[in-house]
């Protein structure tokens, strides 16, 4: 095990510095400076190799965190990446994008700052790519079975990689023009440069996974045709239906969903011509919603050269430290200062948007908001008499996602949707249509990238068993599993 007293010798977290704000908002590259391997080793040595490692449970992937922490501490990077890849197909994604429930559940976090697990993870995989240790693992023999994976986000890619390695012939369908789903068009480059995605896709291609971008199932091919053509189908289309704000002025020019803005921005950065791109340059930008998507909009708007960026959140400002009602090892809601917040802009809490105001040309010019009032029954309403107007040229709605788009699934496959709007599925990830499986946000509703990968892995195991009668693929989570939290009374 790692140094038993490491956590006593090094009591603080040490992370790579972010590049200076004025410099980094001039480009789209990742915000972090390269890490120092001596610091990383010191941090890995803080892992206590717990008898009961709660990080195993905090992360739905069941990552063997103490083991690769120890290997990184010993400087055995190659063994570390093997251990890491054993449970996580894409550590280069999670190491950059995951909010790290593992660190929330880190035992050291009870009374000291938690181990910098995410940093160790990303350093492990970056080292491995740099050293050429990430090689294709094509199957030794093919089963002759074919699987279509619809959707190329983290859940679809994880399912595809697992199934390909198990010997099935897998085709991944993506309606966008490039593979990657949210990884491609949802995440700005300053959080994860696309080269990481490309490296991984190259590995998957070398393993035999086939990619079909620009094909929308239900439109270009019907779901029933797809089902007939493949031995099994995995729906990994995500929860892309955005939550709307049905208030006066919603139809004005300049009021957009966050995802419209981010996708176009990502396409432009990738070198595409984007006519009439939603752009923030010289505008007063308002981002509604205090989550990660909101932060992505903020960072993107700064880089676009926005005149001002204001972030509105309807709720109370979360506390900076873990509150009593969200005890260890649960993942608390905290006031976080992400790189985008650091770069500027205002964050307003208890802000209820009442109306979007436009000019004669039908363009948005201002936003009317009020202070949020909490009613005794828990509902949140605008407090009368507190309305005020703020100037707005571009309004981005980042209020979360309500579930998968129903598209043609219902009609063409006869799949059923749950009361929450997700695709109904059994304990084996199978939808009500036989041989059609559901993985990721499409079945769970919007969630974290680690849940997507975990579901992709587990659904792959279910597909393998469906096709072959048995499976040796790991199944880290059940469809009904939830993050560790307090049970409702």
């Amino acid at each position: 095990m790692a140094d038993p007293k490491g956590f006593l010798k090094n009591t603080e977290r040490e992370l790579p510095a972010r590049r200076p704000v004025p410099v980094r908002i001039m480009d789209w590259k990742e915000v972090y400076e390269p890490g120092d391997s001596a610091v990383l080793r010191r941090q890995a040595g803080r892992c206590m190799d717990c008898g009961i490692p709660f990080c195993h449970k905090g992360c739905p992937l069941g990552n063997l965190i103490p083991e690769w922490n120890d290997l990184m501490w010993r400087g055995e990077g190659r063994a570390a990446i093997e251990r890491l890849h054993a449970t996580n197909n894409f550590p280069e994604f999670t190491g950059r994008l995951c909010p790290a429930p593992c660190e929330s559940s880190c035992v050291l976090g009870i009374n000291q700052p938690a181990v910098t697990i995410k940093q160790i993870e990303v350093a492990t995989i970056d080292d491995a790519f740099a050293n050429g240790w990430v090689e294709a693992e094509p199957p030794a023999r093919l089963t002759g079975k074919t699987v279509a994976v619809v959707g190329s986000g983290p859940a679809g890619l994880a399912a595809a990689q697992q199934l390909t390695r198990a010997g099935h012939t897998v085709a991944v369908f993506e309606r966008d023009d490039r593979i990657g789903g949210l990884l491609r068009y949802g995440i700005p480059d300053f959080k994860m440069e696309k080269r990481h995605l490309e490296s991984r896709l190259r590995q998957m291609q070398d393993e035999g996974t086939r990619f079909r971008a620009g094909v929308e199932i239900g439109v270009d091919i019907t779901w029933s045709e797809l089902r007939a053509r493949y031995d099994a189908v995995v729906i990994a289309t995500g929860a892309t239906a955005a939550r709307d704000i049905p208030i006066p002025g919603r139809d004005l020019d300049g009021v957009h969903f966050a995802m419209e803005y981010l996708v176009e921005s990502n396409k432009a950065i990738a070198g595409d011509q984007v006519p009439h791109q939603i752009h923030a340059e010289g505008k007063h930008v308002i981002v509604i919603g205090g989550g990660d998507t909101g932060a992505d909009c903020i960072g993107t708007a700064h880089r676009h050269g926005a005149l001002s960026v204001t972030n509105l959140a309807i709720g109370k400002q979360p506390p900076a430290a873990r509150p009593d009602h969200q005890p260890w090892p649960t993942m608390p809601t905290l006031f976080e200062v992400s790189s985008a917040h650091e770069e500027g802009g205002d964050r307003t809490y208890l802000a209820s948007t009442v109306e979007f105001l436009g000019n004669e040309a039908g363009e948005v010019r201002a936003l009317r908001l009020a202070e949020t009032e909490y009613l005794p029954d828990g509902r949140r309403v605008p407090k009368s008499g507190t309305e005020r107007e703020i100037p707005a040229d571009l309004i981005l709605i980042a209020m979360g996602f309500t579930g998968p788009e129903r598209s043609a699934l219902e009609d063409q496959l006869g799949t059923v949707f749950t009361g929450r709007g997700n695709v109904e599925r059994g304990d084996d990830y199978q939808s009500t249509a036989p041989g059609v499986f559901v993985a990721g946000d499409a079945g769970r509703g919007q969630s974290l990238i680690v849940w997507a990968i975990a579901e992709g892995r587990a659904a792959a195991a279910a597909v393998d068993e469906y096709l072959m009668g048995r499976t040796t693929l790991p199944s880290p989570v059940r469809p009904t599993d939830v993050a560790i939290g307090l049970q409702p009374a």
């Binding site: 038993p4 956590f7 206590m48 009961i52 050291l108």
Partner: protein, 441 residues
Amino acid sequence: MLNDMRDRVVVQADGQLKTGRDVIVAALLGAEEFGFATTALVVEGCIMMRVCHLDTCPVGVATQNPVLRSRFSGKPEFVVTFMQFLAQEVREYLAELGFRSLDEAIGRSELLDVNGAIEHWKASGLDLSPILEGPAFAADAPRRHLRDQNHELDAHFDVGLIERSQDVIAHGGHVQIDLPIRNTERAVGTMLGNRVTLAHGEHGLPTGTIEVNLTGSAGQSFGAFLPAGITLRLEGDSNDYVGKGLSGGQIVVRPPKDATFDASQNVIAGNVIGYGATQGSMFLRGVVGERFLVRNSGATAVVEGVGDHALEYMTGGLAVILGATGRNLGAGMSGGAAYIYRLDRNLVNREALASGELELLELGSGDVEILRDLLEQHVAETGSTLAAGLLDDFEAESLNFVRVLPRDYAAVLQTRKDAAAEGLDPDGDVVWTRILEVTGG
């Protein structure tokens, strides 16, 4: 139940008991007392790190490190609350089962439904009927503890000793008692010691106040927990556990004066001599069994040979071994010291030697003086010819002794000594930090 003895014993269940349901299941299986260990620790903040042995417990439960101890967040009230919840749940189950008290539930195993438990695939094929089914008993046959055992304490050997020592315990002075003893007499001296401790506290009486000279074979636990002020001298031999928990008293065991055998080659007492002793001294003329002085933390003992696993887990005190040892000497020994005559290194605990945790050293001048003094006492008390022979040529023979000393213990002693010389508080934070440094944490 079959032998009509159930009402004379108390059955305690332990192991993974965590909920009221567990208690009820144990009661239905026949238990009437219930043990909780892990659960109570977890209630106090234990997170089952399983590093209790490393002194790195991050929540301050199992550690001596002041930094970590300050992180302990438990309160006694937590355990109280937990037990109240547990009791509440037990009552709810009792109500569901239609019992008025836990007593009524004890031994009613016919109420257990095991199907749910063995349906799990890991338990498939398990047949629990042998432990759940048996002969039928009358409805009024006792199913729990109802009759107390008569331990016949009023007929114990110590009753006579106490009677004859009463005056001395109350008013001081000196008493000598001479009696024969048989090996059916167990824990001789313990109740007498209890009276001394009750009257005089942990420091007892001046050495030699009560002298008991016995002849014959002593039963188990001879002189257990004996406090200062009592000397037990036994001419004959003794069973296991001589001087268990010795707390300041003195015990001498020697063969009969007219014995013709070589005492140094013959067994004088059994296994586990001086278990958990904290103070006092023992002089044993002869060889003793295994696990000699296990967990000794402060007593001094002289013996002429020992079996396997001697000095196991010792944390303090001093052992003088004048003859052969068994294998695995000093396993887990973290404190105290031993002087051993012609020690065979191959018999010392290998891991401790290899890792340097145990050091085998020559005797220093101070050690030689202590050894000489102890040998002289041993000769005076037991008439040992072996010790007398060593004293005859002491200068040469003392070179044949090896001092066994735990490395970290020595470092801690030295650090505290240096600190005291500097005028620092040996129990203070500064000294503690130094101790952590010299012992590697």
